[in-house]
Symmetry: C2
Subunit: 353 residues, 2 copies
């Protein structure tokens, strides 16, 4: 990634230039400095039936790693040389689209760039002055919806059950844990490092949070789940999954939302082959394991239920939300790497303009 | 296993002696000649509220391998020195139990022995002269119910979809394929050898059946599923599972009923670790994979639906059923090994008396 020499003095967003971050090379394994490239070009012009958007906030999310590969994935890969995919909160600058006026804030999928021209399809108007614009990229947006719909519709937690979730201070995991508590469950988090674990317990209200970097992680997780695990909200894979399997109770449910620990694999890891352990656990314990992609698997009914619940919980102070703000579009590539390797703390958003 | 010197002249069932096959040693991996032992003893005496049963047919099923281990499994393991678990069709010889008279045939879980004394609990009366007594161990019993409930309730096949099942000439697989056809699906079987594959297509009505011993098994399976796989009824694991994963369609369903290819593992196999491939497929394709144990997962509602459907299909000639009859209790241990290694052809039942 080409970045300015002095990161303390980021290039500002201007009316004259569109900075965009494009996929320069498909990474093999971990993305590196050559994977993404900053380009500049003219600000696009809005025509009839279009609007010009100025990006204010860009969301960084683990799924973006998958879009850098050419393989069959959730969705179409980003093309080589194409602007990186991403959800943004933007401000409408000019508009020839009904229902959108200059000054409105919108939620759009216009990606890693300063400016974009869109028609009104797939754009949600957040109004002129939303209270927390960036929250629509997190707790009120895709990550929040992912946590709510995946946990409640696939995980089906019942009061008194034990719910385990990794990345417990990330936007999905933190929300899963807090909803589990609201539903009367024991919530056990997994996170990297003492600071995150303390946050999960003290701020988010998890009953326990285990540091996956501990040598005796498996034993600590077992001790934190004395009655086994009824719901494992899977978003990491790797060591955490393999520590969870022996603890799953009969009829446990495993919504599979992500596997960030494995996103940078370019080949399958060394053995042994855990396939027999995974299938054997499903069989003996009669476990349901179900993958989902939020906007493919769930629709307007689940989205309405999410917004109703989450808006109420936020107003009542029952759900806490933490963001990590990255300053400047040019800092986004390194921040994505941090995210993929667990160095973020809270929902990562980039302040673009 | 101690067997008579001359297998052509099996020891007959007599009124004076109870032959029983007990677990002599827990096998490490594949069971061998020392795993099971034939013992003889007196015929047990029925007391008040009990009945004496003479075993007529003994069922052999893959789950029996799991009961030989001490590990956490479906159900309690067989104790060392204890009679091997198994379902039988037996004849009532004497009875002090209401609803059971001498001459009645019953379905019971009295295991690998000539004689048993039971009270009436967990015993189903099949009447004095059932048309096909041994069918209650197969197409009308646990394997048939497993196929019906697992396919319809977890697999949820829709007309036009592709259903794949291994062990396609076994009692579960054959039934899965035939129900899939009845429901308007494309049914693709996997079996070991040309003879079984021909039977699956020509007699059972599968659209295709692939020999898993072929060098190009994976390519043949892909060619037989030109529109991908919507339901994979998992009963083997191993190479078949790994050939299926890349072919699964979005929102595919995978009922996990067994993994006979892996039952004899004593340790996890060499790598690579397929865990990321399994989880990644669930995630990208939004697949549901759900293990089930027939009598734990399903209840009277599903059982009644099964009996109604299957009785009707058999009467209408829509479902075909093949048995492999093993002669004599003393031949059961070797027959179980054959079953675990795919050398059976049809539902294995032992004619005990």
């Amino acid at each position: 990634m080409d970045t300015p020499d002095d990161p303390e003095d980021p290039m500002p967003q201007t009316r004259d230039t569109n900075r965009r971050i494009v996929l320069a090379n498909r990474p093999k394994g971990r993305p590196d400095d050559d994977s993404l490239r900053l380009e500049t070009g003219p600000v696009p012009k809005a025509g009839a039936g279009e609007m010009l958007l100025r990006t204010v906030w860009l969301s960084l999310d683990p799924y973006m790693r998958g879009r850098m590969d050419d393989a069959k994935s959730y969705a179409a890969p980003v093309e080589l040389g194409g602007v990186m995919t991403g959800q943004v909160v933007a401000e409408v600058v000019t508009s020839d689209v009904d229902g959108f006026a200059p000054g409105d804030h919108v939620l759009a999928g216009s990606g890693w760039q300063d400016w974009a021209v869109l028609d009104g399809s797939q754009v949600m108007n957040l109004g002129r002055d939303p209270a927390h614009p960036s929250w629509h990229l997190g707790i009120l947006g895709m990550p929040g919806f992912t946590a709510h719909a995946g946990l409640l519709n696939i995980g089906e937690p019942k009061p008194g059950e034990t719910v385990v979730v990794a990345a417990a201070t990330g936007p999905v995991g933190a929300t899963v844990g807090q909803i589990a508590k609201i539903r009367g469950c024991r919530a056990v988090g997994v996170a990297g490092g003492a600071e995150k674990c303390a946050h999960a317990v003290e701020v988010l209200g998890f009953d326990a949070c285990i540091d996956h970097r501990s040598d005796d992680f498996e034993a600590q997780l077992a001790a934190a789940c004395p009655e086994g695990i009824d719901v494992y909200f899977e978003n990491v894979g790797g060591r955490t999954l393999y520590a969870v399997l022996p603890l799953l109770n009969p009829f446990a449910r495993v919504p599979v939302c992500g596997m960030v620990a494995w996103y940078n694999l370019s080949t399958l890891p060394d053995g042994p082959d855990r396939g027999p352990q995974i299938l054997g656990t499903l069989l003996r314990q009669k476990v349901k394991m179900q993958g989902f992609i939020i906007f493919d698997t769930f629709g307007p009914t689940e989205h309405a239920a999410f917004l109703k619940d989450m808006t109420g919980w936020l107003q009542e102070g029952k759900v806490r939300y933490r963001e990590q703000v990255v300053e400047g579009l040019e800092a986004a590539p390194d921040a994505l790497l941090d995210l993929l390797e667990g160095r973020n703390f809270g929902k990562m958003v980039v302040r673009v303009g």
